[in-house]
Structures are given as structure tokens and as C-alpha cells.
Point group: C2
Chain length 454, copies 2
């Protein structure tokens, strides 16, 4: 089926499509602060309904609503699911924005605003691809499902029960994940997996109040206890010391290693931007990339205890806390790592530290040689005119495992972003050209999914 008419329809509607996106960007939806969440969920549902989707709002306890949309093809066919999120990162520091973060201001061929690239642009491009196909053909070649959640930016803490309780509703043959885009050379980037993450907080307690540090020979200091406990978790060579932490870690496969060669890893630029002379362990090239994508980690995100103001204060604090995240790779399980951590602390005399679990997701990857990966890569090459770059996994985390591991279908992340999109930073933007090209890519993918994949 020629898609020329669809492309023309997308071009003809470009202005409306941009308007749709601007409207969505203007609706703040900061999950970290609970700002505008319900309003944004309602707007997403309205947009889905106006395109012809039947919709459902699903909520678990006090979590943000998940907006679900479904549109069936008139003939029996396969189902493609889009995973998106309508929530955005907090816009702070606001003073560093050139245009107001929720203005949706258009300038220099770009739409500016928090969330325009991550992930509202992708959601709208997918919705508009469906609209264009309907405009031209009056039907969809496959069934389409939209799963649009509102807590991705805070670790999707309420997603798992929703998925577990609505297993049949979210069944599909494959899914497209929320993010992706093109690089500086215009090559489309595809991501086949996400690391897991386990976020915990360890708290040590001492006396019932801060005391004068003259009492140090007698009064236990929780800050020291925390330091000693942390020192047991990881050594200076970055090896995690928790018993059996590396148990179940899969070695990267040959085909995954092969993918790394094509990844444009701009390591010198990265070091320069970060102001560091070398990577940990003096790793370079493929070795550095291998570590980045396949290595599980244990990271201190934050430390706090006692007096942290100007100068000095001779205080012996009564509380100390550390925030840690563990990035996990297949087949580590976040719940197992949590248990191993607790056991290990206890074994070493730190059983009285409070361990608070702040969130967790399991790691997940779709195999490089899965037919759906081949289909998405082929479509991307066709639309963008350049061979797709395939990441066996991203170094980041997200709830992909619920779809890939629990619902059981292949998941590939591909989107309409570009290298200067400033995601999670001030002046987030989306090039209108990338947005429209991404819409064409998704329309093509829906079409190819119907015809080229079995």
C-alpha cells in the first residue's frame, strides 16, 4: 500500500498537529508535585476520544490515572500498543528558560516547553499518525492500543497492580515504547531494553536529639555508622560487595556486542561536557559502552546528616540518611536485590539501619534478533533514509518489563526527538520537522506492522 497519500495528509495537517501538541504542552502535568495531573489525564482522554478511540481511565490507589485507548481495525488483525506518559519533569530552574516552560512557544522551527519532547510530542505524533491513516483509508490496518500513564517521571510506582489486574486489556502483539529520535547524522536510534532500578534509603539513628560533639567518646554517631555500612556495599574498584549481587547477571550476547560498534558513542564530547578527564576504570570505546549498558551499579544519590551550613558546628548528629539506587540488568530482580541488601546489612551488624524502599522496576530487554526489532529497524531506515542504530538496551530505567516480561510481547523504543531537545533540562523543545517526520514514521510502522510481520 503506498503511503504517499498519508504523508501528504500529514503535511497538509501539520499545522493542526502542532496545535494539538501545543495545547497538550500548555497543560502542566508535573507528577513530582501532583500538579495538573488529573487535568492532563482528562485532556489526553479527550484527544483519544476525538480521534475515535474508546477510552478508559484506570487508577490504583492514589496514583495518577492511566489513560487507556483502543481502536479496532474493521478486519481481524494484530494489535500494536503504544506506551506513552503524559507527566513531565518539574520545570525548575525556571529562570534558565528562554520561554515560559508551559507556554508551548514556537520559535526557530521548534516548539518549546516542558515535556514537549519527553513525552508529549511522541504521544501526539502517534495519535496523529493514526488520524492521518484514518483520514486517508477510513480504517486502521491493525488494532491500536494506547497506554498513557502519568507517573513515569517518578518511577511508575502504581503501574504494576494496574497491569496485573488488566492483563487482557493490555494484550498486544508488540509495543512501541515512549522515547527515541535521530542523532546528529539523522540516523534513527532504537532501544530494545531498559535497566531495572531499585531505589532505597538507609537511615541510621543515634541519640534522641543532636548533642554537643564533646560527648563523642560516649554517644553513638549515626553518620559514622552509615559511612561504615556504605563502605561495605561497594569497593573503590566499583565492585558491589553485597553477597550474590551479580548472581543472575547475563553476559552480553555476541549480537548485542555487535550492535555496540554502530552506536555513535561520542566519548570525548561526553567527558568534556561532564568536565571529567576519564571514565571510571579508565574505560574507553566499546569497553566503556559495554559498562554503560550492561553493568549493574550501586549509586549514592544523596547523603544528609547533622550540620551542613556555613563554617563549622560542633554537633554530634542524631540521624543520618543516604539515598541509593541500584541499576539492574537481566536477570537480576529488584525484589531479590532488596532482600540481599537487607540480609547483607544484617549479617555485618547493620541490621538496625532502617531500609526504606522508594521504588523499583525490573530490567528488561527484547532480543536483538526478534522479528519485531527487524521490522522497526527496516521501517526506520526506509523513512529516515539512514540505517537505524540499535541499542540492545538503554542505560536508563522504566517499567518496560511489565510489558515485555509480564505481558510477554516484544517492545522497541523509537520516537521523534532530536539531539538538542534538552529533555529534563531548561528549554526543552521539539523540532517541528522531527515531529512531523516522526509522525510519518509511526504511520509507516503501523502499515508495515500489518503487512510485513507475522
Amino acid at each position: 500500500m503506498s503511503l504517499e497519500k498519508v504523508y501528504k495528509n500529514i503535511d497538509a495537517n501539520a499545522e493542526n498537529f502542532v496545535e494539538d501538541l501545543v495545547k497538550l504542552v500548555r497543560q502542566p502535568s508535573v507528577s513530582a508535585k501532583g500538579e495538573g495531573i488529573k487535568e492532563c489525564a482528562n485532556l489526553v482522554e479527550k484527544m483519544l476520544r476525538e480521534t475515535g478511540f474508546s477510552t478508559k481511565i484506570l487508577t490504583h490507589e492514589k496514583g495518577s490515572p492511566v489513560v487507556y485507548g483502543e481502536m479496532k481495525s474493521k478486519k481481524p488483525s494484530k494489535t500494536l500498543l503504544f506506551y506513552d506518559h503524559y507527566d513531565v519533569q518539574p520545570p525548575e530552574p525556571i529562570e534558565k528558560w528562554t520561554h515560559e516552560p508551559f507556554s508551548g512557544k514556537i520559535a526557530d522551527g521548534k516548539i518549546y516547553g516542558r515535556g514537549v519532547s519527553d513525552n508529549k510530542g511522541n504521544f501526539v505524533s502517534r495519535l496523529n499518525a493514526v488520524q492521518a491513516l484514518l483520514n486517508v483509508f477510513g480504517d486502521l490496518p491493525v488494532n491500536i492500543k494506547f497506554f498513557v500513564e502519568g507517573e513515569e517521571e517518578i518511577g511508575s510506582p502504581n503501574l504494576e497492580p494496574i497491569i496485573r489486574e488488566n492483563r487482557r486489556l493490555f494484550s498486544a502483539d508488540a509495543a512501541i515504547w515512549e522515547f527515541g529520535g535521530t542523532d546528529r547524522q539523522g540516523r534513527p536510534h532504537l532501544y530494545l531494553g531498559l535497566k531495572g532500578v531499585l531505589s532505597v534509603e538507609l537511615k541510621a539513628y543515634g541519640a534522641s536529639k543532636d548533642v554537643h560533639s564533646a560527648n563523642a567518646p560516649l554517644v553513638p554517631n549515626p553518620a559514622w555508622r552509615l559511612v561504615w555500612a556504605l563502605n561495605l556495599l561497594k569497593d573503590c574498584e566499583e565492585k558491589v560487595l553485597i553477597d550474590d549481587f551479580y548472581e543472575n547477571v547475563l553476559m552480553p550476547l555476541n549480537e548485542e556486542i555487535r550492535c555496540l560498534r554502530d552506536i555513535p558513542f561520542e566519548e570525548e564530547e561526553m567527558k568534556k561536557e561532564l568536565g571529567i578527564k576519564e571514565f571510571l576504570g579508565k574505560k574507553r570505546g566499546i569497553e566503556a559502552l559495554k559498562a554503560l549498558l550492561f553493568q549493574p551499579t550501586c549509586t549514592i544519590n544523596g547523603l544528609i546528616s547533622g550540620y551542613t551550613g556555613k563554617g563549622s558546628k560542633t554537633v554530634l548528629p542524631n540521624e543520618a540518611a543516604v539515598k541509593l539506587d541500584f541499576r539492574l540488568v537481566p536477570n537480576q530482580k529488584s525484589e531479590e536485590i532488596y532482600m540481599k541488601l537487607v540480609r547483607y546489612l544484617k549479617k555485618h551488624g547493620f541490621g538496625n539501619l532502617e531500609v526504606i524502599q522508594h521504588g523499583s522496576t525490573d530490567p528488561s530487554r527484547t532480543p536483538v534478533n526478534d522479528p519485531f526489532v527487524g521490522l522497526v529497524a527496516k521501517t526506520a531506515e526506509k523513512v529516515y533514509g539512514k540505517k537505524a542504530v540499535i541499542y540492545p538496551t538503554s542505560a536508563a530505567s522504566g517499567p518496560m518489563y511489565l510489558f515485555r516480561n509480564f505481558l510477554g510481547y516484544p517492545v522497541v523504543s523509537a520516537g521523534c526527538s532530536h539531539p538538542e531537545a534538552n529533555q529534563h533540562a531548561p528549554n526543552e523543545n521539539l523540532k517541528i520537522e522531527s515531529f512531523i517526520q516522526g509522525t510519518k514514521f509511526i504511520a509507516t510502522l503501523i502499515n508495515d506492522f500489518a503487512t510485513d510481520w507475522c
Copy 2:
């Protein structure tokens, strides 16, 4: 010489003396904020001059003024110096005060206000003791010097150069230090020394900005580096691991140990108040007291890095800092300990940590068997009717070493406070009875110093 007339004079003037103290308390003088410092120094100088002292204001760079006062006896005689400070702790949390912190409100036989007990009450009681002696005898039996500084509560950072440059001005035969008082049994407590303290801050740096923790396999984390460095400083048995840290530490002498038996160490009350089940190393009784007074320490005062807000944030921080204090005992020197710390960090690969010195004082003790100690103890027993409790040293720190070690005379701390004075806490107060009794004690001491001591 009978002092009955002097005691009567003190009683007769009690109301005026309390008024003097209230006036001084009403003048805020918070060195931590630089609030009211100059005004308070001027008031102290005025009070000294009105009593008949010749005065001098000495200042080093931007430090608070030191107010110096001197009054000579008409006949050649010995010199007694009083060390006091007019600065006070910040009054916060103000909402916990029953009376305004700078009101000098009188209620229940007490004067309330920040600094009334620490240390304005002692200064005024000493000044008034001089006044009473002058009232009765028209002369002093010894030369009296007052050294009243304005930065004691922030570690006296500008004192050393003033002392070094005015060595002859501050010469004396003995000195009475700022603090002390009676216990619940009405026994006077004397302190013969202070620990030294070295306050430092260690800072570790990573990338030029916080980065997403997905980059953890490649980007150095300063919080981990700080944890590993701290772990090298002290082990779980509280032993400081810095090379030669314990070099020069004096073992407590037999006569010092003997003093400990008379010290009312209310350890169960202390544990209960602190909400702890036992002291470090399960120490009890004399062993705990020995540790408290004679053991040098390394204490984390504060820790800060990365995200410390609610919940979790997957950030890899670019900076981490710790505030530490080392409490030192004779004959450790703060400058040597600083050098040992820097060398030790370098030796273990942490030479790139920034080490900021926030302040230091050396430890100091006057021997238990010094004749001046005997004199003060005897006078105290005479005035208070109970045997004095002698602390070979306090567990706290202060610039006593400049007088004891540099100027070379014996120093004993004895004052007019009482157990519920709430020093450094809300509702600081001074019992008027203790204040007047303390004034009599100082008048007696000046008299005994002239007659009983050679």
C-alpha cells in the same frame, strides 16, 4: 581580713547588681550572626570604666573586639586575670522560649535570657565582686585584669594573634576561666582544662554538574569517594586510623584519675536523656568518664551530597562534603593533626579531596596539684560549704591554651551557674541566688589570692 563587710555590701547592692546583668543581657551579641557585637563590646567597656578599670579595645582584622580592663592595687601585688566572653549563642528556636531571649525577664528568682548564664552572669559577678571590695576597702588586694572576648561561641578564630601581640599586657599570675557553677547537691565544680579541637571540612568533586545516575558505570561519584575516605579515618571500634594520631597523647595521671571518683557522673540519667541504651564500647562508670575527658575523638558533624528531599531522585551528585571535628588532648597539637590528616589522605589516594580548616584550638590542662588549684578549691569549699568537685579537664574546647600554654600561668574555670541554667538552649537562665553567691565567691577568691597564695 574578714569579708563579712564585703558580703553585706554585696547583699545590700544585690538589686543593682542584678540590674547591671539585666542591662547586659538586653544587649544582643550573637557572634554567629555578627548581631550587636560592637554595641555589646562598648557596653562591656563602659561597665569596666564605671567600676574604675582602665580599658582598651583590641581587634584583629574583622574579628569581634576584645575588651581589656585593668585595675592596679595601690601596693605592689600579684595579678589575677578573668577570662570572659560577651558573645552569646544564637537564641533559636525562639518559639521555645517562655520569655523573650533578650528581655532579661525576672521570674521565679531567676533572670532569663540568652547569655545570662553563659557568660554574661559570670562577667558581671566578677565585676561586682571587684566593686564590693572597692566599696568596703577603697582598694584591691591584687591587680585585676579582665579579658572579655566576643567570639568564644564561634571558636575564637581571631584570638591567637591578639594574644601573641599583647603578651605583656595579658601577663598575670593566674587566671579564672569563664564557666562553672554548683551541682544539684550544691557542690562547686572546678575545671582545670579544655580539650583542643580541629574543625575541618572535606570536599570531593566529580563531574562539573549533577548527572543522571544511569551514567554511574562511567562517571566518578564524589559521594562514594567521600565515604571511602571517611572509612579510612576511623574504624567501627572508634579508633582513629590516621597515622600517628595518638602520638603525644598523655596518659591520665594518678591524681587526675583520683579526681574522677568525686565527679558526680549521672550516667543513667544521661543515657535516659539521650535516649540511648549504652555508651560506646559499653563503657560504664569511671571508664566512661575517663573516655569522656581523656580520649581524643574524630566526629562527623555533618554530611551533605546530592538529593536529600522527599522520596528518590536518580541523580549522580557532582559534589560531596563532610564536616568533621577532632577533639584533642594534651599534648596533641591541632596544626600537627591537620598535617597528619592531609598526609594520610594523600597516602591513601585521596589527595584530591579539598581540605578546609574551619578553626582550631590546642588542648590545655593545669595540673591537679598546682597550688592555684588548691587555693581555688579551698576558697570554694569555704564559701559554698561543700568540698569542690575537680574536673582535670572538661570534655569541651576553648582557647584556654593561649593563656595556660602561651602566657604560661595556671587557669581554673569556676563560675556562678547552676544545673538547670539551659546554656545553649531555650530558656537560658541564672538563679539570682547563685549569681549573688558566685559574686561572694569571687570576692573571697580575690582576697585569698592576695593572702594565701605565694
